[in-house]
């Protein structure tokens, strides 16, 4: 008897391709995606951090510091307003801050005026670099601080040595012969002949770093609430839109779709009507999510209403179009369920709904841009983290609008099979 029941199960599985895919293919697919996202795979295992650098001192010493940073492979420096134009004007503090604010770079380093004098007077100890940081990326500023120390040690050891010897000479004193020997060695270090064997391992570079949050958020926990409200909200928007789109398949089975198509609405009207409803439902769903974030987690919703409305409207519109496209492409509810689960979870993983994209490798970040989630989330982050003005949302709005149009067109084409044959 048990053998017979096992046989029934086996025969059903053998003849159900969708069930086979969900059972065997989906886990492997998700394993691969998550391994790529969290394991830093995808081509660039040597992910570097983008850093803007502003040299306000413009002296030999400050150039040495900037040069040391430039040699650090883990950092990708941007020194000019136009990254493609090496002769362009060097960045100033305001331009660097704007780059951080708009999310082009997560960190900007300011070498302040008077740095050379500080080094001449009291060595690196008196130097105070400023780090303009984007709090939406909590990792980059920490890493950059450490890398700056390392860069000075490794790439400009003479600065550290000079600084230490100045202190030594000031408090203890040196003979002329000693000073000449040291000057010769420092010259060697400057020219690079001494390689990186400066013997500075374990020592501190001496300068201090002042980290400034340029976005002025009221707190990291609150910022993360905005991220998760958007991330989870967009993922569930896609799930609910796909489920609502599935009503089309139920209507095919029940015969109501036939009745609707035969009415004055026609197939085009039916699709537009359904899209409008699903988009409204999605808008409401995201609104409930953010209202809950405000009510329970203190999310600052009310001072971001215009941006929230714009992003929610365009995200819901695109989500609804995706739901309709999936429904019209599927022959059965089971097919829709399998297809939408695979697609939505993949897009959510790649697009940053589950794990922030800025923490992924650069290749994965770029791959994420093919997903709906990435654009929607980028828009929400602009609104809630970067305090971006409405016009700054145009790339996200444009992409989501194009996605909506393309998906609706695809849905219209798929739906032709329900019309005249």
């Amino acid at each position: 008897m048990i053998g017979t029941l096992v046989r029934i199960g086996w025969l059903n599985l053998k003849r159900d391709r969708a069930a086979q895919a969900l059972t065997f293919l989906l886990p492997v697919l998700f394993f691969s995606i998550f391994a790529s996202v969290f394991g830093g795979q995808g081509g660039d295992t040597t992910s570097s951090i983008r850093v803007a650098i502003v040299d306000e001192d413009r002296t030999d010493a400050s150039r040495r510091i900037a040069g040391a940073f430039e040699k650090e492979t883990a950092l990708r420096l941007r020194k000019t307003a136009d990254p493609d134009e090496t002769d362009a004007a060097p960045l100033d503090r305001a331009a660097a801050e704007a780059l951080v604010r708009e999310g082009t770079v997560p960190v900007a380093v300011i070498i302040p005026a008077g740095t050379e004098q500080q080094i001449a007077g009291s060595g690196l100890v008196g130097v105070k670099l400023t780090l303009l940081a984007d709090p939406s990326d909590p990792i980059a500023p920490q890493m950059v601080q450490g890398l700056l120390q390392k860069a000075i040690m490794t790439n400009a050891p003479e600065l550290t040595i000079t600084s230490g010897l100045q202190q030594f000479e000031k408090f203890i004193g040196m003979t002329e012969a000693q000073r000449q020997a040291i000057d010769g060695y420092v010259a060697q270090l400057k020219s690079g002949d001494a390689a990186s064997t400066a013997g500075a391992s374990g020592a501190m570079a001496g300068f201090t770093i002042d980290v400034v949050n340029v976005l002025g958020g009221s707190g990291q926990a609150e910022d993360l609430v905005a991220f998760y409200a958007a991330g989870i909200g967009v993922m569930f928007l896609l799930f609910s839109c796909s489920a609502a789109g599935g009503a089309m398949i139920d209507e095919v089975d029940s015969g109501t779709l036939e009745r609707l198509i035969g009415s004055r609405a026609g197939m085009r009207g039916v699709l537009i009507g359904k899209w409008a409803f699903i988009a409204m439902m999605g808008f409401l769903q995201l609104t409930v999510m953010f209202l809950w974030g405000w009510l329970v987690f203190g999310l600052d919703l009310w001072s971001h209403i215009p941006g929230f409305v714009v992003m929610t409207a365009f995200s819901a519109a695109a989500g609804a179009a995706l739901g309709l496209m999936l429904a019209t492409a599927s022959r059965t509810r089971a097919q829709l369920s399998g297809l939408s689960t695979i697609l939505i979870l993949t897009m959510s993983a790649l697009g940053g709904s589950m794990f922030p994209r800025f923490l992924m490798s650069e290749t994965m970040q770029k791959m994420g841009l093919v997903t709906f989630n990435a654009w929607a989330l980028d828009g929400y982050l602009k609104v809630f983290w970067r305090e971006a003005p409405l016009w700054a949302l145009w790339p996200q709005v444009a992409v989501l609008s194009i996605v909506t149009i393309v998906l609706l067109t695809a849905a219209r084409l798929f739906a032709r099979r329900w019309e005249v044959v």
């Binding site: 015969g255 036939e258 019309e419 005249v420």
Partner: protein, 306 residues
Amino acid sequence: MMPLAVRGARKRFGAVQALDSATLELRPGELLGLLGPNGAGKTSLIRAIAGRLRLDEGTIEIGGQPVTPGVTRPELGIVPQELAVYPNLTARENLEVFGALYGVPRADLAARVTRALEHAALTDRAAEPVKRFSGGMKRRLNIVCALLHEPRIVLLDEPTVGVDPQSRDRIYEMLADLRQQGVSLLLTTHHLEEAEARCERIVIIDHGKVVASGSLRELVAQSLGSARVAVIRASRPFEPAPALPAGAELDADGRTIRATVDAAASSLPELTRIASVHGGGIDDISMHGARLQDVFITLTGRELRE
């Protein structure tokens, strides 16, 4: 001018000839029964009339105007076999949404919905979600949803399937009311007795072709002529099945012989002898004029189609 005329309709799906020069006419105010075995082409024909099937050849005219594929004509009301209503909406809400979609003027909608509810005997249950309705109530609602825009031609695909005799009677009363208003009705059904009793004319379609059409009397004349049908039930099943004369067949129960007999006197003795010798005697013997069932089997055969 006929409300509906189909001429030489042909449609092929791959290897299957769904419609093969099918021709029929629907007259003003008549109830025309469209019969045929499963897969005979009934649904294809209905879909073509509704503008949902592009013919390879042939024409369909409604009120003298050709049907354009992709366009459902407003003169047409379509009652699908499926219960094409929203189960979570009330009867009134279903009627309101379908009325609006089918172009009923806003000013008339409430009055037409009320009339439709009365027509379907659903006034008392108008505010209830349809999912709580019985099968018969849903069927009646399914019909009136297609009538709100006051079509002149109504296509009904198996409108009485799965309902009790009371609901069936009510549905035919509704159809009779429509005919009185001059509405022409084309109905498909597998209930041959219903078609025999209710339809003015009958069209039998098989393999995409119209194989016979006319009143029952005309169909009998076309297929069986003046023959009568003899039914002889033996006392026990035949074992083994006996050799039967031409025109006689053994029913599925294995002991009833059904035969069309032109000259009863010459055929009956042989049939009764077979039943007596091989069937252990005769339990019952009857003769009747040809019925629609006999015509249908004669024209379309006994073999299963699917």
